[in-house]
């Protein structure tokens, strides 16, 4: 079926998100139907009711305080006036998008689980009358969108060996795709596709290839470490993107395990710290690009791949823009994975450059040592899972950046199932030079800085841009609510053309999620989570 733009179509199809609608998500800016707003993951909305002239009047429309004491990392999903937002660890609220009043609340009863960095969840996926949720006990659950009743609940992996699911699933066709977390527990990572009706698994792609599979030779195959691939890491905990024309799922793969002692895993350790492109129907690998071969700094490639069709040196090309945790901004060819550009967007001291083939030229003495080693960026990276944004009106790429160093130590890694397998714990936020944060705008064709908005504290949240050339972002944030209570927590709007601050509000709670926007009853709303509350803003 062909769809008309916007409101009419939304009303006519009330409550039924179809694959067709997901494909054309950008033409329905009233809704926010996937984690990053569209399959291309621009975290951009063409809504422009809130603009650079009237933003000064932006007011809180409603707040939903969640019972949880964990911080909210979710991006809400909004479909036809209903907001589905997760409450950590693994609960879901269906809220009225105009008022924040709850319709239903799915509360998961949880056994003991393993998560490295607080029990978080980044959101749901929606299709038809179903809402899909990944859980910290490593299950994937389908809920009825009207009542929250569980339709199916399948185990993705064994939580007792350190797996969990914290990312938002992605629906493609009649499948729901989910990754896993567990890179600090020596899991073997994978990406899975499940049948939306039955919950039956369609395919699995192991991000650490086993014997006989291509890429296995990048792990020790003989000697005392011949089994290190089994605990090789490579989690997939941030939602990827989808290219419907190429039928390719494009996803980031996390760090190898153990994180900070790479001695037990000689080799490049594919496909850790890589972008992977999979045929969405079969889960077969079409190409990969590895940002950091043989990583010993925990520089996951768990960023959201931003898919843009644009001119590249005079020829139209299908591109991916990717600012990676290690401090370089990359442009890749989406069809082949070919490396096109790699340029630092923040201070880094580990690579001289990225060579013409796309392989980093490592500088000496840039791995963790027993005595400790100072390296830029720090372990949280020069960016992280914080969503970037691409705005087609400014043609700029926006991201959250950290200027910071880390103190990297190498310790003994010992694998025991379900326990941490990291080989030391690096130090960040170092007192002598804690660094700072920034929202940066890059020219995506060159990686050059166009403007930056500095923040005292380093933001743990992503950015979103709109059709009125506004950028929403935040400062401050920390993993626990209890520590750093005194750190700033501003939610702000910048002029996306020049970075000028136009509006801000102190939300007084850790911001570790990403802003999003939608429209209900003719009003544009902007939502951001802080602490354990969801805040929504609108013009009076």
């Amino acid at each position: 079926m062909r769809l008309a733009i916007g409101f009419l179509a939304a009303t006519a199809l009330f409550g039924q998100v179809t694959y067709e609608r997901l494909l054309k998500a950008p033409s329905e800016p009233n809704n926010w139907m996937t984690y990053s707003g569209s399959y291309q993951s621009w975290r951009y909305s063409s809504l422009d009711q809130i603009n650079r002239q009237n933003i000064g009047n932006l007011k809180v429309a409603w707040v939903q305080q969640m019972p949880t004491s964990h911080r909210i990392e979710a991006t809400p999903t909004v479909v036809d006036g209903i907001m589905y937002v997760t409450e950590p660890p693994s609960n879901v609220f269906a809220l009225d998008a105009a008022t924040g009043r709850p319709y239903w609340h799915y509360k998961r009863s949880l056994p003991a689980y393993n998560v490295c960095c607080d029990a978080v969840n980044r959101g749901v996926a929606v299709l038809g009358d179903r809402v899909f949720l990944g859980t910290v006990d490593a299950h994937l659950v389908a809920l009825n969108a009207k009542t929250g009743a569980v339709l199916w609940d399948v185990e993705v992996a064994d939580r007792k060996t350190g797996y969990s699911v914290t990312g938002a699933p992605l629906v493609v066709k009649d499948m729901v795709i989910t990754g896993v977390a567990g890179g600090e527990y020596g899991v073997r990572g994978f990406l899975d596709a499940y049948d939306i009706k039955t919950g039956k698994r369609r395919w699995r792609f192991n991000t650490v290839p086993g014997p006989g599979e291509k890429g296995h030779e990048t792990w020790p195959t003989t000697g005392p470490n011949a089994n290190s691939w089994k605990q090789g890491g490579g989690p997939t905990w941030v939602t990827g993107s989808f290219d419907p024309e190429l039928n390719l799922l494009i996803w980031g793969v996390g760090n190898p395990s153990p994180d900070w002692n790479a001695d037990v895993r000689e080799g490049d350790n594919l496909y850790t710290d890589s972008a992977i492109a999979l045929d969405v129907d079969t889960g077969q690998l079409k190409w990969h690009y590895q940002f950091v071969p043989h990583d010993a700094n925990d520089w996951d490639a768990v960023q959201v791949p931003v898919l843009v069709d644009s001119d590249w040196q005079g020829k139209p090309r299908k591109l991916i823009y990717w600012a990676h945790r290690g401090g370089f901004y990359y442009v890749l060819d989406r069809q082949t994975g070919e490396f096109l550009l790699g340029k630092p967007f923040a201070k880094q001291t580990w690579a001289k450059e990225i060579d013409a083939k796309g392989r980093p030229v490592r500088l000496p003495n840039t791995a963790p040592t027993v005595e400790g080693n100072v390296i830029w960026p720090g372990v949280q990276g020069a960016t992280n899972w914080y969503s970037p944004s691409y705005n087609p009106l400014t043609s700029l790429f926006y991201l959250t950046a950290w200027e910071n160093k880390g103190w990297y130590l190498k310790g003994e890694p010992k694998y025991t199932p379900g326990n941490r397998y990291v080989g030391s714990v690096p130090d960040i936020d170092m007192a002598d030079d804690p660094g700072y944060g920034a929202i940066r705008a890059l020219n995506p064709k060159t990686g050059e800085l166009v403007w930056e908005h500095k923040t005292q504290t380093k933001p743990w949240s992503g950015v979103m841009t709109t059709g009125s050339k506004l950028l929403f972002g935040a400062s401050g944030g920390w993993l626990n609510r209890s520590s750093r209570e005194d750190s700033e927590a501003y939610f702000f709007a910048l002029d996306a053309e020049n970075g000028k601050e136009l509006w801000r509000i102190n939300l007084g709670g850790t911001m570790a999620s990403n802003p999003m926007t939608y429209m209900v009853n003719g009003k544009q709303m902007v939502t951001m989570a802080a602490g354990s509350a969801v805040f929504t803003f609108a013009l009076p």
């Binding site: 009225d96 960095c117 607080d118 389908a142 009825n144 009743a149 600090e184 996951d300 372990v379 941490r420």
Partner: protein, 248 residues
């Protein structure tokens, strides 16, 4: 990704209250705080039978302690305000209950009950494991939530216990439209409902022309529509809908 772990070890200890005196104290608390749902003998009612030795939410002492003190998230099992000693006394009593299981005899044929469930239109309103409608409660694990006698009663006398989330809101708005559906939530300004016609809906009180809450059941009684054997079969089917056991 990485940072400091949150410990989630659960204090496990030998139950020092597993003595005749401890059990007797536990029984007293059980009668006053648990029997309304689990029955005086623990054999179930609107809550499950606790005498069978089967615990879906975990069967170690630590699991029982957790479930009794904190309640069970996402279910009708509430948390309770007891001190640690009292909870261990209740645990001791609940354990003792399983020593003499009360297993109600289910004479019906569950497989035939499953067929009847579809034929008699039950699945138009009730979800069972992902199949069915949403005009009634999800019955996917009802067998581990209620006693069989209660299930049987629900079919012939639906109005006997109606949980507030299944009360029916009936609204006529100022523009003359009629809405009816489950009242999910209400506040000073609006109600939130699952409209039987088209799903989740909020209606402002300012738009009400007429509003009422029907606390009766939206389920028709099957008292005269089922034979005794059919009723047995349906009850057996519902009782067989168990929760998957917790893996420890």
């Amino acid at each position: 990704m990485f940072l400091v772990a949150a410990g989630c070890a659960f204090g496990q200890a030998v139950n020092t209250q597993a003595t005749p005196a401890g059990r007797a104290a536990g029984e007293k608390i059980f009668r006053s705080h648990c029997a309304s749902c689990h029955g005086v003998s623990g054999a179930g009612g609107t809550g499950p039978n606790l005498t069978t030795g089967v615990f879906y939410h975990g069967s170690t002492d630590a699991d029982l302690y957790r479930n009794i003190s904190q309640g069970i998230e996402g279910t009708a099992m509430p948390d309770q305000f007891f001190n640690g000693v009292q909870i261990w006394q209740i645990v001791a009593y609940v354990r003792w209950l399983s020593a003499t299981p009360v297993r109600p005899k289910l004479v019906g044929n569950a497989a035939h009950g499953a067929e009847l469930f579809r034929q008699k239109g039950c699945s138009d309103c009730h979800l069972v494991r992902g199949e069915g409608g949403v005009r009634g409660p999800d019955l996917s694990v009802i067998g581990s939530q209620r006693a069989p006698a209660y299930l049987r009663e629900s079919i012939v006398e639906p109005g006997a216990h109606v949980a507030p989330e299944f009360w029916v809101a009936k609204v006529i708005t100022k523009d003359g439209k009629n809405h009816s559906g489950f009242l999910l939530n209400q506040d000073s300004y609006a109600i939130q409902m699952l409209d039987f016609a088209d799903g989740l809906r909020m209606i402002q009180r300012a738009d009400f022309k007429d509003f009422g809450i029907d606390r009766g059941s939206a389920m028709p009684s099957y008292r005269d529509k089922l034979s005794a054997a059919e009723l047995d079969d349906l009850t057996a089917f519902l009782a067989s809908l168990e929760r998957p056991r917790e893996k420890n």
